[in-house]
Amino acid sequence: MDEKITFIHTADLHLDSPFKGLSYLPEALFHKLQESTYKAFENIVQAAIDRQVDFVLIVGDLFEQENQSLKAQLFLRKCFERLQAFKIQVYVSYGNHDFLKGNQFKMTYPDNVHVFSNERVQALHFKRSGRVLANIYGFSYENRQVFDNKVNEYIVEKNEAPFHIAMLHGMLQGEEGHDPYAPFQINDLLNKQMDYWALGHIHKSKVVATVPPIVYPGNIQGRHRNEAGERGYYYVEMDRSDVSYEFLPSASIIFENVILSLADKQSFRESIQYMTSILSKQKKNTFVELTLQIKEEQNSLSYLNRLKEWIELWNAEQDSENFAYIYKHKIQYPKIKPQFEASFIHEIEQVLFHDEVFAQEIKQLVFGHPSLRKYIVDETLDGVEEEAYQLMMQMLHQNEVTE
């Protein structure tokens, strides 16, 4: 009997989850963005079909929220049906974003879809020609939070199956930026006699260990600046002697954070030439957060306005089929110099940077505003003091220049 299996390991689809940090988009790009999570999963389904894999593992967070949008659910069902047509099995565990109890109306999926139905770790069996080839272990979140270490529940079942694969949506201790659900340590996993640990939850692709492979595939489509770079899934081939796994990209849109220094550019013209050359080299369909480092002489309203105009022009010229769209740009100002003690600027500096109450009181106008406050988070006003200082410097300087 052919004792080789191939599968795709993916997690954190977050279908139909909106993108953050974009305040304006042309319609064509908006549409592209809106379809991107779908497109990413479609790419994976196509790959599964093209590579004729045995099954697809989806390790949690198929949806952004427990109240899943109808579009996302119907889309997923259609994808599953497509895989069914090619006799490809699908193993699904739900995560903290799409926990079981959050959704009272479950969509019915075709027979090729096998769902871990509760929070207890259980084994599902992948069979070929009536023989069990792989035991697939996993659980689904019943509630939003699972704080227990679930690893102890993963126990290899003694049956004819030559392969044991574990699906775990949880947090590797020591990682940051995600909720610490179902936490575990690498050593826990290494001792479990599994052939492959298919992880989910952390959105950045990461191979935690190689023997056996313990892999976070990351999410399939980046959705904001913190999910920059290529996103994708793992294609795994497994036989008695070897496990090979390969990261493959799936995202239809890529977020990139580009930091460019214009300080050594002698003229505005040279600056835009430089920016054009860098931006033109971006991957197809990229949303760029552009941070521009400038020097003292460039720190003028007129220069900055010209930069802004250029960015608008650049964006206007982007083709919706192939773009490097600057969705946000930031200016990194030159270091603030100490000021003459008796100068007015010195006083401003004192107020902005050394008076703790002053900034807080002003921010509170926003944080405390009855209708505004729910939209604002701390990061919204990050660095606003420095920007205010620079603004004033520019304005004061501007007036002097025009004089």
């Binding site: 139909d16 909106p18 993108f19 953050k20 940090g21 974009l22 305040s23 304006y24 988009l25 908006f30 963005l33 809106q34 109240n67 949008s69 109808l70 579009k71 996302a72 009272q104 109306f105 002489e297 110099k337 100490p338 000021q339 003459f340 003690e341 008796a342 100068s343 007015f344 600027i345 010195h346 006083e347 401003i348 004192q350 107020v351 902005l352 008076d355 002053f358 002003i362 921010k363 106008l365 926003v366 505003h369 209708s371 505004l372 939209y375 604002i376 988070v377 919204t380 006003l381 606003v384 920007e387 205010a388 603004l391 004033m392 304005m395 004061l396 300087h397 007036n399 002097e400 004089e403």
Partner: protein
């Protein structure tokens, strides 16, 4: 801190220019220069050395006449001492008094982080700034002065104003119109839509549940509908077949009563089948018998036509001699033809040669005979030739003699008489010399000779040709011969006449020279003639001799002829048939005679052979005739014999075939007869089975049976129909229950009503289902929630951005306010105190104090009477004074942190003489503690500083 002096390497119009602000220990430097003299450039130079200039501005001051840009500034500091600043295009060097280089951090610390803008806002006061103040409206003026009083910069006012404007545009916590407020309102709308969309999607699941329960209910109703419909159909069926059903029941009863009737299985078909077969067999028997009879007859006929074997043997034998007979006939015909040919050839010979085969019968024509005949013929030919030759010679002789005779006669006629001749002869001899005579004679002789030759030749030719003519009979030869003779005669004649003339000449009486010549010629001629006659006479004599020879020969020929005649006669006697035949033909006759004799012999042989053949032919014909008689045939031929053999063979074969056929037919007949027997047996068996004895009874029994079967069939048929009309259960009901038309009708009505009710209900439910499904489809297609969620996120991001913008502006604005407040607290008191003092002095104590109102948003000025004025109430000149007082005061106060010199550029430009004096006094006063560099382009201002007691404290420069 003091600026001691500058050294400009190159800056604007200044190239390698040195200027000392301080000579000894002065604090006030007054620089006068007309417009464009370079005052402002000097000020910019100082700022450039201190703080550098932005590249564009620096470019503005690149010297046109030198490439060396930059310069030095020497500063005197109370604590550190002298510091030299050197700035060029490429470097900036700071050196202390000891010449030690200092780094940039040291320098920045030295200047206490002072920047160009701060320096300008504190220590640099210019006429332009005053102009700005003057152009402001009065409300703004207050604010500017307020700001100046607090920060020293009148730009702050603009910044504040702009910030405030932007702030208000962005957001007002209680407002509606600003951007953020609008965005928030929009957000509320969006949230509502989002909520609706979410509810819509929730309703999807409710619709799904409804759909499921509706489907169940519809299934139930459908089931009921089917049941009712089936019932109704059953009853309607029952109704329309009720009569048939009753009939059926009766028939069924009757059938049960009668029970089963026996008749052979498929009895009628079988019987009919047997009958048909019997008939068919009869036909066949008849046919076979007829055919048998026919074959018998054919056999008899054939037997007659077939001969006995020995007869056939004879025919075969005779037929074998067919070739022989044919050859015989052919030979007979050939020999006959040969005989005929021979006869014809013989007759031809006989006819053409006047011969008769009887003449030669006993003759023997040997080769000896032939030789004899040939030699005879030759001799005869020889004789003929000789005879002819002799005759020719005779004739030729006669002709010549006659010719010569004639010639002599004619010559004699021409000849002179003998006396004439002698006379002539004499005359000639007399008169001519011997030689001449000889010559002449010679000539005449020659001439005579030639004439004779021609004559003879012509005649000879003529004779020869004439002879030839006789031999050949060619006329042309005769003519040519005659012409030759004639020519000879004519030539001779002419010669004769000439000779005669000569003779005449010589014979004439005239004995002169010409006469003599003529005489001589005649004499020669006469001599020739005589000679010719003599010659001809000689010839004649010769010819007489020849005649004798000819005569002798002629006799010999005569003799030969006689001998021949005798020999021929002897031969004719030997062969009488030669009697009438010329000897010349004998040779050819011999061959023909020989041929004829051959033919005769051959014919005799052939005739004999023919006779033999004809006898043989008669024999064979007899044999044929005998055979013909034996087989009763009158005529027989060998060809016929051939056919007969084949015919006999054919007859025999035919006979054999027919015999076989006959046997076959007999066998068939036997088979059919046996089959017929079986059929008869079967028929009897059927009768027995039907318990009848004859055909009529059999048919009757069948009719009864058929009737019963028909009934059963109709009953069965109806039962089948019942099966198609009703289910088993329904059939049970139909047959076991008593039905009346009325009860059926009642039931139909009842069920119909019930069915209609169910259908109506079903329609409603279908409609409902359709609506639900439409809603479901709509929801499935809808991307509204997805789009709204995205939009919501984007709009939220906009709010964040706007909020940040607003906070940014708000913070900036508030920071300025806060800074101003601190600033006021720290410096305002001192500044106002100092400014009040300066203002009082500038206004000659018309005003005594400057202060803020209680709200600190307005400057008040108190006059000498203690009355307060707002800035708005002051004259322009007073505002200038107020502005200068404030600026100087700020500088004064700031100098406690960093004491840098003032750079004052024509700040008294609007002052009248009186005010100017006070202002100059004030400047001089301030300059006691602090360095002031004062620049002006007004001579009257410059001259104000020419006060005696000032001289020691002032350095003056006049730029030209």
């Amino acid at each position: 801190m003091k600026f001691k002096g500058i050294h400009i390497y190159g800056f604007g119009k200044w190239v390698d220019y040195r200027l000392d602000f301080v000579r000894k220990n002065e604090n006030l430097t007054v620089i006068y220069g007309e417009n464009e003299a370079g005052k402002s450039t000097l000020q910019q130079f100082v700022l450039y050395i201190l703080f550098d200039l932005p590249p564009r501005k620096r470019k503005q001051f690149e010297p046109k006449t030198s490439s060396h840009f930059g310069g030095e500034l020497v500063i005197e500091d109370e604590e550190i001492g002298e510091v030299t600043l050197q700035r060029t295009e490429t470097r900036f060097i700071v050196k202390d008094e000891l010449g030690q280089l200092k780094d940039l951090a040291w320098y920045q610390d030295f200047l206490k982080q002072m920047t160009d803008s701060v320096y300008e806002s504190i220590y640099a006061v210019t006429a332009e700034q005053l102009d700005v103040i003057r152009d402001l409206n009065r409300t703004q003026l207050n604010d500017v002065l307020m700001n100046v009083s607090m920060s020293g910069s009148n730009h702050l006012y603009d910044v504040e104003k702009e910030l405030h404007k932007k702030m208000d545009e962005l957001f007002k916590p209680q407002g509606r119109r600003p951007e953020l407020n609008e965005q928030l309102n929009q957000m509320v709308e969006l949230e509502k839509e989002l909520k609706q969309a979410k509810e819509g999607e929730q309703s999807y699941h409710h619709y799904k549940v409804d759909e499921q329960s509706l489907l169940v209910s519809i299934d139930d109703l459908r089931e009921k509908e089917v049941f009712l419909y089936e019932q109704l159909k059953f009853l309607q069926n029952l109704q329309s077949h009720l009569f048939e059903i009753e009939t059926y029941k009766e028939e069924k009863q009757r059938l049960d009563f009668l029970g089963e009737l026996s008749f052979p299985h498929q009895g009628m078909e079988r019987y009919e089948n047997i009958k048909a077969k019997k008939l068919e067999h009869d036909h066949q028997i008849h046919r076979l018998r007829t055919e048998l009879a026919y074959v018998d007859k054919k056999l008899i006929d054939l037997q007659e036509m077939i001969y006995d074997d020995d007869l056939v043997e004879r025919i075969i034998e005779l037929r074998k001699r067919k070739e022989e007979y044919r050859d015989l006939i052919e030979n007979i015909n050939r020999i006959r033809a040969q005989v005929e040919q021979l006869e014809e050839a013989m007759e031809h010979i006989e006819r053409s040669d006047q011969l008769n085969r009887t003449m030669i019968d006993s003759q023997s024509f040997t080769s000896f005979v032939k030789n004899r005949w040939v030699s005879l013929q030759k001799d005869y030919d020889q004789w003929l030739a000789n005879d002819e030759a002799i005759k020719k010679r005779e004739f030729a002789y006669d002709s010549e003699v006659a010719t010569i005779d004639e010639a002599i006669r004619s010559l004699k006629r021409e000849r002179m008489d003998k006396e004439d001749y002698e006379t002539l002869k004499h005359k000639v001899n007399e008169t001519t010399s011997q030689e001449a005579k000889e010559q002449m004679t010679f000539l005449a002789k020659e001439r005579q000779k030639l004439a004779k030759t021609i004559l003879y030749s012509g005649l000879s030719i003529g004779v020869i040709l004439t002879i030839s003519y006789f031999i050949t009979q060619k006329t042309s030869l005769l003519i040519i011969g005659m012409m030759a003779a004639l020519f000879g005669l004519v030539s001779y004649g002419m010669t004769q006449s000439t000779t005669k003339q000569i003779n005449d000449l010589f014979s004439g009486d005239h004995v002169n020279r010409d006469e003599f010549r003529s005489l001589k010629e005649s004499y020669v001629k006469e001599n020739d003639l005589r000679k010719q006659i003599e010659q001809l006479k000689n010839r004649l004599t010769h010819l007489k001799h020849e005649e004798t020879i000819i005569q002798h020969e002629k006799n010999n020929v005569e003799k030969n002829h006689d001998q021949l005649k005798e020999q021929i006669a002897q031969e004719i006697e030997r062969f009488p048939l030669l009697r009438d035949i010329d000897i010349i033909y004998w040779d050819t006759l011999f061959d023909r005679l020989q041929t004829l004799q051959g033919h005769v012999r051959k014919k005799t042989e052939l005739t004999k052979e023919l006779k033999g053949l004809l006898i043989k032919k008669t024999e064979m014909n007899n044999e044929l005739t005998n055979l013909g008689q034996a087989i009763n045939r009158q005529e027989l031929s060998f060809d016929r014999l051939e056919d007969m053999v084949a015919e006999q063979e054919e007859y025999k074969n035919k006979y054999k075939d027919d015999l076989e056929h006959k046997e076959d037919l007999q066998k068939q007949l036997e088979v059919i007869l046996s089959q017929l027997q079986i059929l008869v047996e079967n028929e009897e068996a059927l009768f027995e089975e039907a318990s009848v004895e004859n055909e009529d009874d059999y048919y009757k029994a069948f009719d009864h049976y058929k009737e019963n079967e028909k009934r059963r069939e109709s009953v069965d048929l109806f039962e089948k129909k019942l099966k198609t009309l009703f289910t088993a259960e329904a059939r049970n009901q139909v047959l076991n229950k008593e039905w009346t038309l009325q009860t059926v009708k009642d039931k139909i009505n009842h069920y119909q009503a019930e069915l209609e009710g169910v259908r109506e209900h079903l329609n409603e439910q279908y409609k409902e289902l359709a609506e639900i499904r439409e809603a479901l489809q709509r929801l499935e297609k809808s991307e509204q929630l997805s789009i709204l969620t995205y939009q919501y996120e984007i709009e939220k991001e906009k709010i964040k951005e706007l909020a940040r913008q607003w906070v940014l502006h708000k913070m900036s604005y508030e920071a300025i306010q806060a800074a101003k407040e601190t600033y006021q607290e720290k410096y305002l008191k001192a500044i106002l105190l100092k400014a009040s003092d300066y203002f009082k002095r500038l206004t000659q104590e018309a005003y005594k104090a400057i202060r803020f109102n209680e709200q600190k948003d307005r400057i008040l000025v108190e006059d000498y009477r203690g009355l307060d004025y707002t800035v708005l109430q002051l004259s322009k000149g007073t505002v200038d004074q107020l502005y200068i007082a404030l600026r100087l005061a700020i500088g004064e106060v700031m100098s406690k942190r960093l004491n840098l010199p003032y750079l004052l550029d024509d700040i008294f430009v609007h002052f009248d003489e009186h005010r100017l004096q006070k202002a100059v006094d004030l400047i001089c006063d301030v300059a006691k503690d602090k360095q002031i560099i004062f620049m002006t382009c007004h001579r009257n201002v410059y001259e104000q500083f020419q006060v005696d007691d000032l001289e020691e404290r002032v350095v003056k420069h006049h730029l030209s």
